[in-house]
């Protein structure tokens, strides 16, 4: 497995090998799928749309609907106006969404298609909406694409509203439906009526009923988005993915806003709870405090199996930040912390976290890099555990290292996306997985005389 990967690290300036990120449009598509009755539309050649739907389908084991402008060579030369016009008509005719969320691709961006002006000139059916985000694939990563669609939603749907409402706006960033549900539950427990944007609960994990509908019951409702400026406050999660939409909200609506890390692990979940508490003024319910107490209890009980274990954490910046924090809470050493997303800020965040925990070991933290590099690092100085997406499984097999899957995409396991990694429940779940991986390895490797029945 990966036998062609040499130990010696050669500096690369041209080739990215085995990427740890993908392109902007899929982020925009996923974001749009968290709006109720929304059809994401990919303005480019149809391969992009097909690839994005496929990767989302494989991760969520769910239909991922989206349409394409189906550019041909002609459209690439003369511009995609007519393709977009036809698309919008056909989408409303055939799939009858309430809203179409258009995003661009490297093709339509390179030819300089002015989608905004196309939409201005377009006749949109009464009561329907079409919004648009620019997502050139040659910038940022899928995380930036998600963020760009968030900004588009806010800019193009949210209206000035003199009236305040009772809701607390939540920007979860790129999370799974199980996380959306858990974040809303925690907010409700704290007496904060959540308005989550986007909301993939019941949109990318619809129940089996025997009758397929294009649109699930879930997803953020358009009237709620329109009134988002009147929310009591905003909690935006993820310093990389949610920073831009959060600052846009502050600028546009002067909303009291708190930017917190994605609530993974105890400390970051505490931050989220405190933020909610600050808004609602409510005490933390006993049951929730017990929930927290039980995770801390679990961590202390099992700490000997995680203490000083070296882990490579890789994937998208915000979830990697959260998972790194959880690993540190478990006494682990985040030996390599890696993202493909080109954001230097990631390195600062992680380094600060390592310093905060006084990690003595030399750890390598890098953004804008790839899994080939991480593999080479591991070849030179191995780790005990891999924590990240399915694409790490090649390295896991090559180097015989246990892997715990998290983040996007997880293409080779089931049931992950309908459960949380966030909150105290998510922490419990992740700790169980990490322990299972490490302890199973200890069992597997133990000599007969060292094999323990009680651990």
């Amino acid at each position: 497995m990966l036998d062609m990967t040499p130990k010696e690290v050669v500096e690369r300036k041209g080739a990215t090998i085995n990427p740890c990120k993908t392109c902007e449009p899929v982020g925009a598509m996923y974001c749009a799928l968290g709006i109720h009755k929304c059809m994401p539309h990919s303005h480019g050649s149809q391969g992009c749309c097909s690839y994005h739907r496929t990767v989302l389908g494989r991760h969520f084991k769910e239909p991922a609907i989206a349409t394409s402008s189906s550019f041909t060579e002609g459209a690439s030369v003369f511009g995609g106006r007519s393709n977009l016009n036809t698309s919008v008509k056909n989408i409303f005719d055939i799939y009858n969404p309430d809203i179409i969320a258009v995003h661009t691709t490297c093709l339509s961006e390179t030819i300089g298609d002015d989608v905004n002006s196309y939409l201005m000139d377009m006749k949109i059916p009464e009561g329907k909406k079409v919004i648009y985000a620019s997502t050139p694939s040659y910038e940022g990563s899928h995380i930036q694409g998600f963020s760009n669609m968030m900004c588009a939603i806010i800019n193009q749907l949210a209206v000035e509203t003199p009236e305040k409402n009772s809701k607390v706006a939540l920007f979860p960033g790129w999370v799974d439906p199980g996380d959306s549900r858990e974040l809303k539950r925690l907010a409700a427990e704290l007496g904060a009526e959540p308005m989550m944007l986007p909301d993939h609960d019941n949109s990318m994990d619809t129940p089996m009923t025997g009758r397929y509908e294009y649109y699930g019951e879930g997803g953020t409702r358009i009237p709620d988005i329109e009134q988002i400026g009147g929310s009591r406050a905003l909690i935006a999660m993820g310093h990389i993915g949610s920073a831009e939409p959060a600052s846009l909200m502050m600028k546009k609506f002067e909303l009291p806003t708190e930017l917190v890390p994605l609530p993974v692990g105890i400390a970051f979940t505490d931050r989220y709870i405190m933020a909610l508490k600050g808004i609602s003024g409510q005490e933390v319910p006993r049951e929730l405090a017990n929930e927290r107490g039980r995770v801390v209890d679990l961590m202390l009980d099992s700490s000997q199996y995680t203490y000083q274990k070296k882990v490579a954490v890789y994937g998208d910046p915000d979830i990697v930040y959260g998972m790194t924090s959880l690993c540190l809470e478990l006494g682990m050493i985040p030996k390599y912390v890696i993202t493909g997303t080109p954001k230097r800020e990631f390195e600062t965040l992680i380094t600060d976290l390592l310093n905060q925990y006084g990690v003595q070991e030399e750890c390598i933290v890098k953004s804008d890099t790839d899994l080939f590099y991480m593999h080479q690092l591991i070849k030179n100085d191995p780790v005990d555990l891999l924590l990240g997406t399915s694409y790490g499984k090649y390295i896991a097999k090559a180097e015989d290292i246990p892997i715990v899957r998290m983040g996007f995409p997880v293409l080779d396991r089931y049931a992950g996306t309908i459960q949380p990694v966030v909150g105290y429940r998510g922490a419990t779940r992740m700790i169980e997985k990490i322990l299972e991986a490490l302890m199973s390895r200890q069992d597997r490797d133990a000599a007969d005389e060292d094999f323990e029945c009680v651990m």
Binding site: G47, C106, Y212
Partner: protein, 532 residues
């Protein structure tokens, strides 16, 4: 009474109706041959299953070549999505090289788009040479490359000279053509122009064949190879599943091309016929009967009594081995109906396999097929080229003075065709279907959903994008592009796997829970009298 086809089409607006009516046919087998329009532009906004030219070139044809460093030249996405997602299995060859678990990309950024990506591509090639030292590099361009005008062909030439290896630039930008099909063609051209015929090692074996249009999804090629080897036939190359640049160079020295996918690789088969005189036989190793028939065709083609005898022995033995299993699954599956939407030959192939288990296919369609895949090759002269197909280069080859060798004269080939050996000919999918069956070209989500609701097949085989939709409709579904991570489905052992998987899917215990008890039990209110 209106047909299912009409009722489906009637739901479209006039504009879409006009287009789609030509792509959907309900077979009649009347006086005129049934016909369909294919390989034309997709209606924008219709949620097609189709992919793009790059997907056909890199994803389908050249991606599976194990000893080739394929560099995706463009932004990161395309390289990411085509990495490890197609199940084209490979084992390293004698040189130990296997690039299948790798995805290499120039990961272009804004500055590269503005100032050109040639420098970055050159660096990527240098780095690949330093790290991987391959004998062959292929550059697959994605959408922006053609637009910003990077001269990838020139870079390929320069590097061939610099490094003394084969470097092939494939300009397979996503917007070219109307589907993956254009990408197949571009890849075929590249392989024909730069690889086939550059070697001089004749494959060893009395009868040597290249299996073409076989991508070794779920190890299909290995099952086919196993059977052929038993018969005394050597597989010199597989195009391109588990394929290798190292041996593909000598493909022109094999005795026969056997063609699985008629769409994705027929260009090479035809060009090899013209240039080297090698015939191709359209086979189908998907299905028990189909496999037997294909083996017999190959036997008849070589016209060697001993070989034919051996083939019969192998068939008898293989059938004996799988008999009980097949019977077991046949009892479970007989009388069921199926729908199949696949790429460009499988919807035909899998009907034969389903037939082996007593399952009738009532809906079949292709994503990117051409008319000849539906109607048979005799329709080719009548296909009008359009602006999109004209944009894809047709290369002309001439008979190679050194290597051109025809086993049979055209008259002898005609005779073979009469005997049912499909030499240089394919009769298409539709002829093997029945009246009333629905055929859909360039199917989309709406049509898939409607056809399931109207025709209620017991199982629907399609791709990932459809799979979960179909399941949620309460219809059993398996991916027939990727075999849902199972396989092989080809050959004799593959047929058993397929029977097992279809049975497993249909008889999944969880189906009984789709309706909750409170949904099907009447809600009785009040209390029963006479309790006191």
């Amino acid at each position: 009474m209106s047909t299912q086809r009409e009722r489906l089409l009637d739901q479209y607006s006039a504009r879409v109706y006009k287009n789609r009516k030509e792509h959907i046919t309900q077979l009649e087998f009347g006086g005129e041959p049934d016909s369909i329009i294919a390989n034309t532009r997709t209606v924008p906004g219709i949620m097609t299953a189709r992919g793009c030219c790059y997907a056909g070139c890199k994803g389908v044809v050249v991606g599976p070549l194990k000893d080739v460093c394929v560099i995706t030249h463009g932004p990161i996405g395309c390289a990411f999505y085509s990495w490890g997602t197609r199940r084209n299995r490979a084992k390293p060859g004698p040189d130990g090289k296997n690039f299948i678990p790798y995805s290499i990309c120039t990961d272009m950024r804004s500055t590269d788009i503005v100032f050109g990506g040639e420098k970055k591509l050159q660096k990527a090639i240098d780095e690949c040479m330093k790290i991987f030292d391959p004998k062959c590099i292929m550059i697959c361009s994605t959408c922006p490359i053609g637009l910003i005008g990077d001269d990838v062909q020139a870079i390929a030439k320069i590097n061939e000279q610099t490094y003394g290896i084969t470097v092939i630039a494939l300009s397979c930008e996503g917007y070219k053509g109307v589907s993956q099909s254009s990408g197949h063609h571009i890849a075929n051209n590249g392989i024909m122009r730069h690889i086939i015929g550059t070697g001089d090692q004749k494959p060893e074996g009395k009868y040597t064949v290249n299996i073409m249009g076989e991508y070794n999804i779920g190890s299909d090629a290995w099952e086919e190879e196993r059977i052929l080897r038993r018969c005394g036939i050597t597989v010199a190359n597989v195009f391109t599943g588990d394929g290798a640049y190292a041996t593909m160079k000598n493909a022109h020295l094999a005795d026969l091309n056997v063609l699985m996918c008629h769409r994705s690789i027929s260009y090479i088969a035809e060009m090899m016929k013209t240039k080297y005189g090698i015939d191709w036989v359209k086979v189908n190793f998907i299905g028990i009967g189909a496999t037997c028939e294909s083996l017999r065709m190959i036997g008849k083609y070589f016209n060697d009594a001993k070989l034919q005898e051996r083939i019969e022995e192998v068939i008898a033995d293989e059938l004996e081995t799988i008999r009980d299993d097949v019977e077991h699954y046949r009892l479970k599956l007989k009388g069921k109906t199926a729908g199949i939407f696949a790429g460009g030959s499988r919807s035909h192939h899998y009907q034969k396999l389903l037939e082996d288990f007593g399952v009738e296919t009532v809906i079949a369609g292709y994503e990117f097929a051409h008319r000849d895949d539906y109607e048979g090759r005799e329709v080719i002269p009548f296909i009008k080229p359009d602006a999109d197909s004209k944009n894809i280069e047709e290369i002309t080859v001439e008979a190679d003075p050194e290597h051109f060798h025809q086993r049979y004269s055209p008259e002898e080939i005609e005779e073979l065709n009469k005997q049912g050996v499909m030499v240089n000919y394919y009769d298409g999918m539709m002829r093997e279907m029945k009246a009333g069956h629905v055929v859909v070209d360039d199917y989309n989500a709406f049509e898939t959903d409607e056809l399931i609701k109207k025709l209620r097949p017991d199982i629907f085989l399609s791709g990932l994008k459809d799979k979960y939709t179909i399941l949620k409709d309460g219809c059993a579904s398996r991916q027939i592009h990727s075999y849902d991570y199972s396989g092989p489905y080809a050959g004799f052992l593959g047929a058993v796997n397929f029977g097992h998987d279809i049975t497993m899917t249909l008889y999944c215990a969880a189906w009984q829970f789709v309706k909750a008890p409170w949904e099907i039990t009447p809600n009785l209110a009040g209390s029963l009298g006479g309790d006191n």
